[in-house]
């Protein structure tokens, strides 16, 4: 059956690349730590899409299992990140990342 738009692996890959790009730019340019964390989630999920797309096209479940792992790790990462965020907020009453640059050389 022919559809108007045959969604194939390439489309997923493009989507994934776009998400990755958005996430990366978000990490680099945004100052709010919450936004940065969310951007990191975007990057991670773009990788997940990638993994699942290849898993689907290769007919191999390994990629999907990896994606589940990534989600689990991302949950952990989000927990730790938010913990740091709260600590930072308590210390500085702000979530702006450029307010915390003590490690500047």
């Amino acid at each position: 059956m022919s559809t108007l738009l045959d969604v194939g692996t390439l489309h997923y890959l493009v989507l994934s690349a776009l998400l990755f790009l958005i996430g990366t730019i978000g990490i680099v340019v945004r100052r709010n730590m919450i936004t940065v964390l969310m951007s990191i989630e975007l990057v991670l999920n773009s990788v997940n899409i990638n993994l699942i797309a290849f898993s689907f096209s290769h007919g191999d479940l390994t990629g999907q299992i990896f994606a589940i792992f990534t989600i689990a790790v991302a949950a952990g990462e989000a927990a730790v990140g938010l913990g740091i965020l709260i600590a930072l907020f308590r210390l500085r009453q702000t979530t702006e990342l450029d307010q915390a640059r003590e490690l500047s050389g």
Binding site: V29, R31, V36, L97, D98, S104, G105
Partner: protein, 687 residues
Amino acid sequence: MRWLWLIPVLPFLGAFLNGVVLRDRLGKKGVWMVACGSVLAALLVSVLAISGYLGSEQYSAHEPFEQSVYEWIPAGSMGLDDGSFADVSVEMGFLLDPLSCVMLFVVTFVGFWIHWFSVGYMDHEPGFQRYFTYLNLFMGMMLMLVLGNNYLVTFVGWEGVGLCSYLLIGFYFDEEFPPYAGRKAFIVNRVGDLAFLAGMFALVAHFGTLNYEKLFGTIEAEPALVQGDYVLGMTLATFVTLALFIGATGKSAQIPLHVWLPDAMAGPTPVSALIHAATMVTAGVYIVVRSNVLYQLAHGTSELVAIIGALTAIFAATIGLAQTDIKKVLAYSTVSQLGYMFLACGVGAYTAAIFHLMTHAFFKGLMFLGSGSVIHAMSGEQDMRKMGGLKEHLPWTYRTFVAGTLAIAGAPLLAGFFSKDQILAATWADHKLLWVVGLVTAGLTACYMFRLLFMTFHGPFRGSEEQHHHLHESPPSMTIPLIVLAVGAVFSGYVGIPKLGSIDINVFDHFVGQVVAHVGHGEHHASLGIELFLMALSVVVAFAGWWLARKYYGGDRGLAEGERWAAKFPTVHRWLFNKYYVDEAYDATAVRGTWACARGLFRFDSKFIDGVLVNGSRHLTVGISLLSGFFDKYFVDGLVNLVGVVSQSGSRFFRRLQTGLVSQYALVLLIGMAMLVWFYVVVGLRR
């Protein structure tokens, strides 16, 4: 005879017991019992050994008895003067021959009685046990000296008696003068000992042995051995005899080393009797007689010995005339009598020297003990000007003292008469001028001895009331030795009655004569007429001396006459009273010289050693360390700082990377990742 070695060991044992083991544990009685007991035992063993030797076959064969205890110094092979090699070995050995028999008897006999006397004399003194320890040590050393069968054993005794002499002169070490006198004796003796050593070295280097019998046997068999040119134009015999004689002048207080003996009177009086009259000071005479073979082959030295002896005799006798300290008079008398003995040695009358040594030991020991008894009674007073009239208070001391005085003055038929006459007769035959000196000395001897006797025992008492109150005769423990020695002083001369024509009953001469070799320069004998004439003359001279002393000091004259006599010759009296200023001369030269030398060395030490060397090296070290400090500070530390500066300036650039902005880190991360991707994808694909 087998127990010969025991003789020196016994007193050593006594000294060891008293000095180390028992100390004061058994009290005074224990101390003197041990001390006197050990000497008495030595005396008994000596008598047994001597009688055993006299009855032995060796004696009949005119051979000495030798006993080697152990090999002391096995020196092994040694190159000798003539280029050959010899197996040199010195043994700890003892020798019994007529000469050592006489010495042995004199030392142990007189020594024992002086020990006995000391018990009473030292009773109130502190250091009783120390005194007897030293005295026993002295006896052991002296016996080693006279019994040694080689020069080295004799030398050990020689040094040992010197040490004991030093210890006993300085016995009252808490006073000022005795330690000084002890040091003086020790140092003056050291001068002589050095020469003695040199003589021994020459002998051992030439013959490879120091054993008397071997040495003298070799020389006697072949006198030419010691008559070749040896050193400085001297023959070996001359060199050795000269060296030994210099040693003898130190030990026996002859000019010019006589200065220590009068000062040695600072010690306790029995010590003066034992060491500085009867035994130790005669060691010089003993060693000359022992080496008589060499002396006979060294005519020049013999002459020197005679001259020194005669000079010392008259020199000391004149000093004795003007002294006021009772012990000083006796000390100079001893020096003078020792001069006689050396005179005898010098003219070849070795037996006469030993004979006089023996009689002198009796009468001088006796008189020193007598003076000890007097001093004891006078509560320590030694100045004869404060004495006088003591004969009523000290009858036994007086009687024995008279016997001693008569004996030394040469009164007929007493000990000194025979021995002195024998010396004068031998001198007459050899050297007329020295005989005149000897004869005058005999007169002077009589004069100063009777002066002493009169000043001490006759006339009015001149001491303080308190001293007069305390006057008492000494206890029997002190008078018995006096009586015994007085008997010796009177009768010991009869063993040596001179040969008168065909009547020859001179036992002593024949006995000791066995050790006198007959090579070269021997003793001359005067004819019978001359002998009798000389005897008469010496009696006349002795009488003159007595008359002179009696004229000025006898009866109840006191001191006035004598002082008037002295005032007639003020210069002479001053020189005599001050002992010819010999001490002063030595002080100005030798003593000051030594001090100046020491000061010079001190200055050298402080200026050059301390100043230049020690401080110089300090300055050098400081300088070098300053330099190396600069080096460290500016070069080594500079390197270290350079590393710091470099890394600091480097980090000034690199730390800019560390902005602290997480976004930037992420950007760098991204760039890195992009580069990796580019590398793997683009470059990898291009391959």
